[in-house]
């Protein structure tokens, strides 16, 4: 067989599979987003591939899901929750990770051992993290209760998951625990590429280590920091597993992220059309971040 056929033949199975498993559902949910599709109704129990043309009277419905979404206070609540969550966890985890990376970068046996530990949180199932943190936040016998109580007596009787603000802090905490180690490893990788000579030259010139950091190290780190921030933002936008296991969106709707909101309307109310419409509102910021990420990571190569 000639190479020019072979090379396309090699790509074909993967391409077809990606088209079928990713693009098809994407288009399908786009189509769903313009329809009133409730599983509770008989008409919608028809197979997906036999859509019924309901006649022109359904046309006015076309944008109703989107309109309803824009007018739904609960949706705006979850947009707000997601935004707060995203900014808080990006700022805290990137900040901590940068500090930790600077601490761990020099190498040496002790530091390398701790670096190995950094892999563990990330190899853990987020669902397991969620459920174990829920237990750790339990009012009567939770680990945090005991720890915080011992350190700051005022925190001994706090019901973390029962209070709207504290529950959000709890989720952010579990997410920061999950992500900081990974970001640290990314930044350590970035630090390895910072020119040593420049750092040493600045040191010899008598610059303080703070000035060396600000003038030499930080500028060189900016591309890696940008990648870390964008990736963390993407992950924060789609936050679901830990929310589901840790608070299930509660108390009330205080920790209901967008992904959880979509899940809730799609699979608790079986309101597929509406859930699809909302999910496209999640796709929009994701597209922006993806574009930035692609520009930074792939397109420069």
């Amino acid at each position: 067989m000639r190479d020019r056929h072979l090379k396309y033949l090699f790509v074909l199975p993967a391409l077809v599979l990606v088209l079928v498993t990713s693009f098809w559902p994407l288009l399908q949910s786009f189509w769903l987003s313009f329809r009133e599709w409730k599983l509770s109704r008989a008409r919608e129990s028809r197979p997906l591939w036999e859509p019924e043309f309901d006649g022109w009277e359904t046309w006015p419905y076309l944008l109703e899901n989107y309109q309803r979404a824009l007018e739904d206070d609960l949706l705006w609540n979850s947009v707000q929750v997601t935004t707060i969550f995203m900014f808080a966890s990006v700022i805290v985890s990137v900040g901590l990770a940068l500090g930790l990376a600077l601490l761990l970068a020099p190498g040496g046996k002790f530091r390398l051992t701790v670096r190995t530990l950094l892999i563990l949180p990330f190899a853990m199932s987020p669902a397991l993290i969620g459920i174990s943190w829920r237990f750790m936040f339990q009012p009567d016998f939770g680990l945090f209760q005991a720890l915080f109580g011992a350190l700051v007596p005022g925190l001994a009787d706090v019901d973390w998951l029962g209070d709207p603000t504290l529950a959000l802090i709890a989720i952010i905490g579990s997410d920061v625990w999950h992500w900081t180690p990974y970001l640290t490893l990314v930044f350590i990788g970035g630090l390895a590429n910072v020119p040593r000579d420049a750092q040493e030259a600045a040191m010899i010139d008598g610059a303080s280590s703070w000035r060396v950091f600000v003038d030499v190290t930080l500028p060189a780190l900016i591309p890696v920091l940008a990648v870390g921030i964008i990736l963390k933002s993407i992950f924060s936008l789609k936050m679901f597993d830990q929310v589901y296991m840790l608070t299930n969106g509660g108390p009330g709707n205080a920790t209901q992220t967008l992904a959880h909101y979509i899940y809730f309307h799609g699979f608790k109310y079986y309101d597929m059309g509406y859930a699809s419409a909302v999910s496209y509102l999640l796709v929009i910021p994701m597209l922006g971040l993806t574009w930035l990420y692609m520009k930074l990571v792939f397109l420069k190569r």
Binding site: F10, L15, P25, Q28, L118
Partner: protein
């Protein structure tokens, strides 16, 4: 003299900070691990010292929890996903790496871009499709959706490894009259094998920890380990000693696999699991 003391203080300070970070990472993991060997009373009394027991592991494998079924589901789903995805990904990665293709960049970016679609968007039509096909709550359905997650990532990762293999031996063999397929089988595959295995391990971890698809598509027969965690509710509350026993079974194998590929872990994660 003053300088050395200042340096020593700074070193000690750094040491303490790093130690704190290590403790923060380890405490929740230790908490899960120790809970698995505690009796329920010890869990509720928050004991640090306790008489270890293996009874929890016994209990989770018995009715009503039957965790071995979930363990089997997780293994089969993650395993099948990897076994299907890796050969396809390797072929595609080789092509992207070694040939000039028409629309190469478009195809490659198209495949990669699917990684950025939130899973919750994809899962809505999947749910309806599987309902119509009678595939809800089956392992097959889970393998299919997991493929959408794994394949693009596997292609990207394996391409990276193949890009790193020098072209000379391949070209020499081609000049000597070997066919392209022989060259791939005899030269490229053996050289790329460590990379391919790394990608496979990575994909296995992703599929093993996958939660959103599993929680929506399964409810009894095809439940996987992470979803199985929510089984342990009783009238007296959350059965932490059982959850942590199951937790050990979920996390320990992944820790082991992550250690094997630790050098490539970050590189992998930079694209993998974005969804």
């Amino acid at each position: 003299m003053g300088n050395t003391i200042r340096k020593q203080v700074a070193d000690l300070f750094q040491f303490v900070l790093i130690l704190c970070a290590a403790v923060v990472i380890l405490v929740p993991i230790y908490w899960i691990a120790s809970g698995a060997f505690k009796q329920q009373v010890d869990v509720f009394q928050l004991k640090l010292l306790f008489t270890p027991t293996l009874a929890n592991f016994n209990e989770i494998f018995r009715s009503p929890y039957n965790l071995h079924e979930k363990l089997l589901n997780s293994t089969i789903v993650a395993g099948t996903t990897v076994i299907v995805a890796i050969p396809m990904a390797t072929m595609a990665a080789y092509s992207f790496s070694r040939f000039r293709l028409r629309f190469e960049r478009t195809m490659f970016l198209m495949i990669l871009s699917t990684q950025f679609v939130p899973a919750v968007v994809i899962v809505l039509p999947y749910f309806l499709l599987f309902r119509d096909l009678g595939l809800l709550d089956t392992r097959l359905a889970l393998v299919l959706v997991n493929l959408s997650l794994i394949l693009p990532f596997a292609i990207w990762m394996i391409k990276g490894f193949i890009d790193g293999i020098p072209l000379d031996t391949e070209e020499a063999a081609l000049v000597d009259g070997s066919s392209r397929l022989q060259v791939i089988w005899n030269i490229v595959l053996p050289m790329a094998l460590p990379g391919i295995l790394t990608a496979a391990i990575f994909c296995f971890i992703l599929a093993w920890n996958e939660f959103l698809f599993a929680v929506i598509i399964t409810n009894s027969k095809a439940v996987t380990m992470p979803v199985g965690l929510s089984l342990f509710h009783a009238e007296e509350g959350v059965l932490w000693h059982l959850i942590s026993a199951a937790g050990i079974l979920i996390m320990l194998p992944m820790f082991g696999l992550a250690m094997i590929i630790q050098k490539h872990f970050v590189q992998g994660m930079t694209l993998g699991a974005v969804r």
